[in-house]
């Protein structure tokens, strides 16, 4: 009887799915639902919450820190993603050219991405130090500035400093993924375009870019997702300061929920991130659909 069951692919499939499904249902699906539910309660650490409807959300809408965090998150995501895309594409194009030690360069470039972000963020913290910053030291010696830059102490400086650190970490990922895409484009297309008199810019615009669009869509979706939900870089560099100028939704949600003890409020902030993430995923989905016209079909 049991051996008969083992020949049934539906039964066997379920059996094989069991370990993964159990772990994911208990530690992913259930928390996702629990988190959404917590967002509608006044749960505190060590105390089960009561349903308070939209109370948390109403409070957060009126909370200037939460509104600032939303602005910061969007600003951080948009600026960092655009910079990562532009620099990453540029680096990918450089690495795709005829280079000696190509695979060595490619391996080295990815280092910022594989090293623990919390640890490289500590290096950035030291680089951004108000008194002993090596960047300030170099700029002063070159005669470009006269006082040391307060990288993390001033709101706008802090925003751009954290964005720079995020871009530093994200560019390798974008570059290496786009490079993988570039390597699938046949060189004969470029030769044909060149014979037809296309300039380098036209070759990029009308050959490289259309063929790369699908992978750009996916890579940038991932990049936007990671940036939008970023936590550790901000936590290490500024903890949201100065004056909440660098608080992202993830760091604010952590601060309200864990040190602050208001699980419900933190969960509501986390829940508010979901619509933005869904928008990013849908964007990627429709980006992928564009394959059709690239292969000569209609939309």
């Amino acid at each position: 009887m049991f051996t008969r069951l083992l020949d049934n692919r539906n039964f066997l499939g379920l059996l094989f799915m069991l370990p993964a499904a159990a772990l994911l249902l208990v530690f992913l699906t259930y928390p996702l639902a629990l988190g959404t539910w917590l967002g509608f309660t006044d749960a505190k650490i060590g105390r089960a919450g009561h349903w308070i409807g939209l109370g948390n959300f109403r409070y957060l809408v009126g909370d200037s820190v939460a509104r600032l965090a939303l602005f910061n998150t969007i600003f951080y995501t948009v600026v960092a993603s655009v910079a990562k895309f532009a620099l990453g594409l540029w680096l990918a194009l450089l690495l795709n050219r005829n280079l000696p030690f190509k695979s060595f360069f490619r391996a080295v470039v990815l280092l910022p991405f594989i090293v623990p972000t919390a640890l490289s963020a500590i290096a950035f913290w030291w680089i951004y130090d108000a008194q002993f910053s090596v960047v300030s030291w170099a700029l002063e010696r070159m005669g470009l500035i006269h006082t040391y830059i307060d990288f993390l102490g001033d709101p706008w400086n802090a925003r751009f400093s954290t964005i720079a650190a995020n871009v530093w970490r994200g560019v390798p990922f974008v570059a290496i993924c786009l490079l993988a895409g570039l390597q699938t484009i046949s060189p004969t297309l470029y030769e044909a375009a060149a014979l037809d008199g296309a300039t380098p810019w036209q070759r990029f615009r009308y050959v490289t870019l259309p063929l790369l669009t699908p992978i750009i869509a996916v890579v940038m979706t991932f990049s936007v997702l990671f940036t939008f939900t970023d936590f550790q870089l901000i936590y290490v560099l500024t903890r949201g300061g100065p004056l909440n100028a660098t608080h992202l939704m993830a760091t604010l949600s952590f601060q309200r929920a864990i040190p602050g003890g208001s699980l419900g409020e933190g969960a509501a902030l986390a829940t508010l991130m979901i619509p933005f993430l869904l928008a990013a995923i849908l964007f990627s989905y429709f980006g992928l659909q564009r394959r059709k016209w690239q292969q000569g079909g209609r939309d």
């Binding site: 379920l14 208990v26 530690f27 629990l34 005829n98 490289s120 500590i122 030291w126 970023d230």
Partner: protein
């Protein structure tokens, strides 16, 4: 990689049309700047970790070099802090959660891709969506669950929660690899009377070894780098992982001990960097494979 050889032959087919000065400005100069910026923080980390305090806090000496290198920061880290136990915790948690996730993912990916049970398409899509759920929106409810299960402040809290981001990734990657293995091999084995389990262990897995390595390496670095769960679910120093220990325990008050901090960051980065350098190709194919699908 094969395409490297191919591109050496005809890739950049018109490269010879470029003059050397033009190449220097459009290729070597920007590349050098990129490499400098991307690698400088590591150089800076290493340089700071061997600088004596007197040189660290002086604006007069050239900060890019070290006059009297010292190992005192490493000594302090290893003998006067819990760093060795953070390292051990990180290794244990990363290795156990990587292998658990890999085992669960192999079974799941095989079931979705090859057994084609009813609803396998939908399950595959659900796995992909699970991959997109970021830890930053899960850590609060997970903290409540971890607390309820009595796992708070134990390594088990991390070992059991890391698979939530490892399994979706590994399964998705392995599905791609399994798809590339010809069905005919399995059919032959089925006709010869092999069970599904024998097929998986004796035919599919040996052929999917590169995929297993890719998924394993990637999963290992992901769990080594994990931050928010470890920060939330663990509070005693002896149970912390390296990223958390360095960030929370080495910073005391307003005096920043940059030497030990940088030494800690460097030591914590070296294991993943070494691992990565041995398996670069697998790592890259894992990363790009997951994006390309």
């Amino acid at each position: 990689m094969g395409d490297d050889a191919a591109s050496a032959v005809h890739g950049e087919g018109m490269g010879y049309l470029e003059s050397l000065p033009r190449r220097a400005v459009t290729l070597y100069l920007p590349l050098a700047i990129f490499l400098f910026v991307l690698l400088f923080p590591f150089y800076w980390m290493a340089m700071t970790s061997i600088k004596p305090n007197a040189e660290l806090l002086s604006r007069e000496t050239n900060p890019f070099w070290v006059v009297a290198p010292t190992l005192e920061h490493f000594h302090h880290l290893i003998f006067e802090t819990d760093y060795p136990s953070w390292m051990w915790n990180t290794v244990v948690v990363s290795v156990v959660s990587t292998f658990t996730s890999l085992a669960a993912s192999v079974l799941a990916a095989y079931a979705i891709e090859r057994l084609r049970f009813r609803g396998s398409k939908q399950v595959g899509l659900a796995i992909f969506l699970a991959y997109l759920v970021p830890p930053s929106i899960l850590f609060i409810p997970l903290a409540a669950i971890v607390f309820k299960l009595g796992l708070f402040d134990t390594r088990w809290a991390l070992i059991l929660t890391y698979p939530t981001f490892l399994i979706p990734f590994c399964t998705w990657l392995l599905m791609g690899y399994f798809r590339s293995i010809p069905f005919e091999l399995e059919e032959c084995a089925l006709i010869d009377g092999a069970t599904r389990w024998q097929i998986l262990v004796k035919i599919v897995l040996p052929l999917a070894v590169p995929g297993l390595i890719s998924a394993g390496i990637f999963a290992f670095t992901l769990s080594w780098n994990e931050f928010i769960y470890a920060l939330t679910f663990v509070s005693s120093s002896e149970v912390k992982t390296v990223p958390i220990g360095v960030v929370t325990e080495l910073v005391e008050g307003d005096v920043y001990h940059w030497g030990p901090l940088m030494a800690g960051a460097l030591l914590g980065s070296i294991p993943v960097a070494v691992m990565y350098s041995f398996f670069v190709e697998y790592y890259v194919s894992g990363m790009t494979g997951a994006v390309k699908e």
